[in-house]
Amino acid sequence: MNPSPPQDRPQPRSLSDLFISFTLLALQGFGGVLAVVQHELVDRKRWLSREEFIEDWAVAQIMPGPNVVNLSMMIGSRYFGLPGALAALAGMLVFPMMVVLLMALAYSQFADNPGVAGALRGMSAVAAGLIIATGIKLIAALNRHPLGKPACLLLAALCFGAVALLHWPLLFVLAGLGTLACVLTWQRLKP
């Protein structure tokens, strides 16, 4: 069910390839890096399939710590072990941190500019659309799910309703719906 990547699949060539790739991903990630990671690594570079991306994202989400940082380490370690994890982690953090600190230095001079505030508002509207498109694209990965697509869509809709509309705490939703989904899947999988 979870085959190791086939040999003809594109892969990061080296640690510096990983570092540079994640640096570029992170620097494009206004309002969150998730959409960029999915778009670049799954749709463009094809290092991961949609199914693998969702599985990794599930683990990254469950583990404590920043999700995209967890995800970058997991992807890095998949190809190059601990050095790969550290290269991806550094790519995710080093240059973006310099940028954010420079922004902090400049902030006091531009904070009152209405153009800057407007530009941030426009970019955050686009960023929200990027995330929604990421979710829509990943629905295709449910086609071959052991529970069948209708049950999967129902679980996804329940999760959406609980978090987006009812504002339930993430921890409860993951513990409740997540456990239910995993138990049902476990029953369907052959031992």
Partner: protein
């Protein structure tokens, strides 16, 4: 604001962030309320508005949102009076928040990869898939809701909807869309 940070204070800051690290399930932002209690109310190391602008700036900047924590360490150091202290603050807060969670995630994902054929591991990873998709869509919805539900904000909702369709249906580079959103916002059109 002028602080006198002693080595014991820096150590206290480090230990506090270490202790928050493993509690940050669902992202570092979930621990922000506790950071506010610690940095602003208890230690008086930064003002309320400095705390809030750290979060806002990090969300406006490229990169993972966890960088708001770097900005908090930076702000404590600036309040202590020097750029060297600010850099020390960044190193302390970021190492503190990342070291435990990154170590745990690394070990857990290695274990999961080595045992990927176990029925329980497969059930967990595949079972979580629909829930994860629901969560991603919810994240996008919550970010859109920050536009405000007022009818006057319909151009922002429209921009979000059009972006979602374009990204779903095409392989356009995401930066073009972000730049376009920034330009439209700059001129006050959305």
């Amino acid at each position: 604001m002028m602080l006198h940070m002693h080595p014991a204070d820096w150590l206290d800051l480090f230990v506090h962030y270490l202790s928050l690290s493993l509690l940050a399930v669902g992202g570092a932002i979930t621990t922000a309320p506790d950071m506010h209690r610690y940095l602003v109310d208890q230690q008086h190391w930064m003002s309320d508005s400095q705390f809030n602008s750290s979060i806002t700036l990090a969300q406006a900047a490229p990169g993972p949102n966890v960088l708001f924590i770097a900005l908090m360490g930076w702000q404590v150091g600036i309040n202590a009076g020097s750029f060297a202290a600010a850099l020390l603050g960044v190193a302390i807060t970021m190492t503190g928040i990342l070291l435990p969670s990154a170590t745990l995630t690394y070990m857990a994902s290695r274990w999961g990869h080595q045992n990927r054929d176990l029925r329980a591991v497969r059930a967990f990873k595949q079972g979580m898939a629909p829930v994860v998709i629901g969560l991603i869509l919810a994240t996008g919805w919550l970010m859109s809701s920050a536009h405000g539900k007022s009818i006057a904000n319909w151009p922002l909702w429209l921009a979000t909807a059009i972006t979602a369709v374009i990204v779903w249906k095409t392989r356009i580079h995401l930066l073009w869309l972000l730049a376009l959103g920034g330009v439209l916002g700059w001129f006050g059109w959305i």
